[in-house]
Amino acid sequence: MEQLTPDMILVMVMIGIAIFLFIVEWVRVDVVAILMMVCLPLLHLVTPKEAFVGLSSNAVVSIIAVIIIGAGLDKTGMINKLVKPVLAVAGTSTSRIIVAISFTVAIISSFMQNIGAAALFLPAIQRISKVQKIPLSRLLMPVGFSAILGGTITLVGCSPLILLNDLLLPFHLEPFGLFDVTPIGLALVASGILCFIFLGKFILPQGNTSENQDNPQTCVSPYEQGAEGQCTYELSTADDFMDYRDIVRVGDLHRRYLVNILALTEPPDVKTLSPSPDTEIRSGVDLVVWGDKKNVERMAAEEEMQVKAAIECYDKEFDTAHSGIVEAVISPRSPFTGRSLGKNNFNDRFRVTPLSVHRQEDVFLARLDDIILQTGDVISFYGTWKRLEALHQEGGLLFSLPSDLEDMRPEKALWAGGWLALSLLMIMGFDIQLSVALMTGALGMVLTKVLSIDEAYQSVDWRTIFLLAGLIPLGIATQKTGTAAWIANSILHIIGNVQPIVLLTVIGILSTLFTLVISNVGATVLLVPLVVNMALAAHTDPRMAALVVGLATSNSFVLPTHQVNALYMGPGRYRTIDFLRAGSLVSILFLVVMITMIYLFYGV
């Protein structure tokens, strides 16, 4: 066996540091990647040119183009329009709806980022759940898992697969074609969906009928029961309300009784919707509140207010055509994340009232302003549709509105579809390189004004780009210094001769475990050089070994760590145990189906 050199030791130390930082998350994963990009040339483990070669790599350019194409399709509202025909095909059967939506999401996910497809479909699924009276918890997990599985249908479906060909370059192995993985991907999607159809009863939280009302993305009408049993009530203050008590403000009532003031009359007779927390409550005025019946009654008793039998003074303002309550989900990369709800200033900026925050199984009603928002948090807002529309246009929140208020460009749908088709034709028919073909599609979308160049730039997730580009030199260093070969030989020396199918299974399990603790891109970059060397030494097809890594790094269902799972966890009211239960089964199924398909299709 080859001698361990100081360079190999240095590379292993750098790998160790990267894995450690991925796990402890002291800095973000993309920062870890940039750290590698900078440290490796400083340690003379790669040349300066090799350190930054990732930025111009086929993988990075392809992913930029895929993101822009995805954003273009999103802008045309094409994907939302798919929902209607899909539902028409599915009918009213829950199983058929799950199959139809999951399969559609999987197909879309095969050409755009998984998280993008999942986010795009969330409002539509919420709407379907409400209309079809299917608990959201029964729909979201199958659809979310399908979005992840859909990423394995084509070579541009997920970052690890996009990266694969670049990682095979140093080994002079034949690159994979766009649809080389399609049979395996389709089998994985089908097995995932079937698993939920046949075993959904046992592995999915069933929810209940009231859960349907959890999603008032359209409107909770006056006196209709809301998310957690809250309702809207109209009250009036006594004529001597201000005579014998300290000034009472809107924020005081929320703090004391956890009720939200949705509307308030201010002297002389001005009706204010979503009043700010500093607004004083005067004598002899009407107010509309949203809250738990027991809390509203407690407030009425303690503050000597009169609860009216129905919404009287505010009947026009609280008409469903004018205002309502929506549940908005914090989207991935939302500008609202990491800041407290108070600092996001929704009330001042948009004149909407945040009512509650749902996070996993928790519901927050008290001190909402202090809550630091996270991706997947569900905020209930009250506001007029016009103000909610303004909030929607700000971006960063996923919710649907009852009317066609969204800023879509449906007239560009044909152009968007055409450019996607052209890109695919260039890849399949003319064998043009992936990055060039996809960038052509992206450029076409900009030129035909499907989206502006600024919108295209804004849509690109620079974290993913730098994560990919920064880790590529680590892969180069692992290969160039002989570290990958040394580790591979050492492992093989320990385990001895194994059957190719056994080796691939072990690689699949290893990749699955890696992707649970470090990012899928990180796992791919670290494992591909290693497994290719192992396969070469064990006389197994090295391309298949690399493919197993590329596919199995999408096998991330057991914990809600995958972006898609994290996004759907809040709206689906899932707990970690729900992911453990369903995810474990799907993960095992994934490995079995993947190895079987590789065995059957590639004859390993």
Binding site: R256, Y257, L258, I371
Partner: protein
């Protein structure tokens, strides 16, 4: 309807002042009963509780948190006992344990050292022994307050009134205290009674959690209990179990939420 805490050094005549104030205002008086009740409620020997509230924490305290736990039990009992108002507490640390309540009249009774030694000597101690014992006791009180509350018990800003029983008599002190207690600032309005009940509820919740989760902070406003904990703590089965049991046992809770990843606010217990 005030709450009066009388802090005193040993042999400063504070106990006599407290008894006369309670008698004059027809308030209840509370001192040793606090530890007896805390001992009964939390099944901790009275001696241990007494040590926790009197002796300065030792070097191992930062690892064991025992004193912190016992103090939470004592505080929980005290806040519950004083919530209704009309009470004079002359036990240890009342001014600190009740520092969150706005309507507490905090009084410090002092006396010059020589007169305190003279009183101690009447119990049959030599002058040297009496001096040593009083100085040692004062030292323990100072260390305790410094370690637990990062304050100096001799700092007059901790109190509303400091009276030295020397030229002024016990009767003078009683008269001053009673006069002050009748001021509007110390009146037990319905809002203040609510605040006392809220503090009592928060302290009770803290007492139920402190042994397993010493780092949690708890606030309570209008019966809305907010627990500040780390993400890790909040997801532990034991954490949920304790809170569920607490919610079932206490009817005054209108809402209970656990907020994670946030700094514990200054008004939390």
């Amino acid at each position: 309807m005030a709450i009066i805490t009388i802090s005193r050094g040993s042999y400063s005549m504070g106990k006599a002042v407290a008894e006369k104030v309670a008698e004059k205002l027809e308030y209840c008086i509370l001192s040793r009963d606090l530890l007896i009740n805390a001992s009964a409620s939390f099944h901790i020997p009275q001696k241990k509780l007494e040590k926790a509230i009197h002796d300065a924490p030792g070097v191992f305290e930062q690892y064991s948190h025992t004193k912190e736990v016992y103090l939470a039990y004592i505080r929980s009992t005290l806040t519950e006992m004083v919530a209704g108002g009309n009470i004079v507490y002359h036990g240890l640390a009342g001014h600190l344990l009740l520092n969150r309540l706005p309507h507490v009249l905090k009084v410090r009774i002092t006396a010059n050292l020589e007169s305190r030694i003279a009183r101690k000597m009447k119990e049959g101690f030599s002058e040297h022994k009496a001096r040593t014992m009083i100085i040692e006791d004062d030292g323990q009180r100072t260390k305790w307050t410094q370690k637990i509350y990062h304050a100096d018990p001799n700092d007059s800003s901790l109190y509303d009134m400091v009276i030295c029983i020397d030229k002024l008599s016990i009767e003078d002190a009683v008269s001053f205290i009673c006069q002050s207690a009748s001021k509007k600032t110390f009146e037990s309005t319905s809002d203040r009674i609510r605040q006392a009940k809220d503090l009592s509820l928060a302290c009770k919740a803290k007492a139920s959690m402190i042994e397993s989760f010493p780092e949690v902070g708890i606030t309570c406003e209008y019966g809305n209990l907010l627990v500040y904990a780390s993400e890790k703590e909040a997801h532990m089965a034991k954490f949920k179990k304790i809170l569920d049991a607490f919610q079932k046992e206490n009817v005054g809770i209108h809402n209970l939420e656990v907020h994670t990843g946030l700094p514990v606010p200054a008004n939390a217990v």
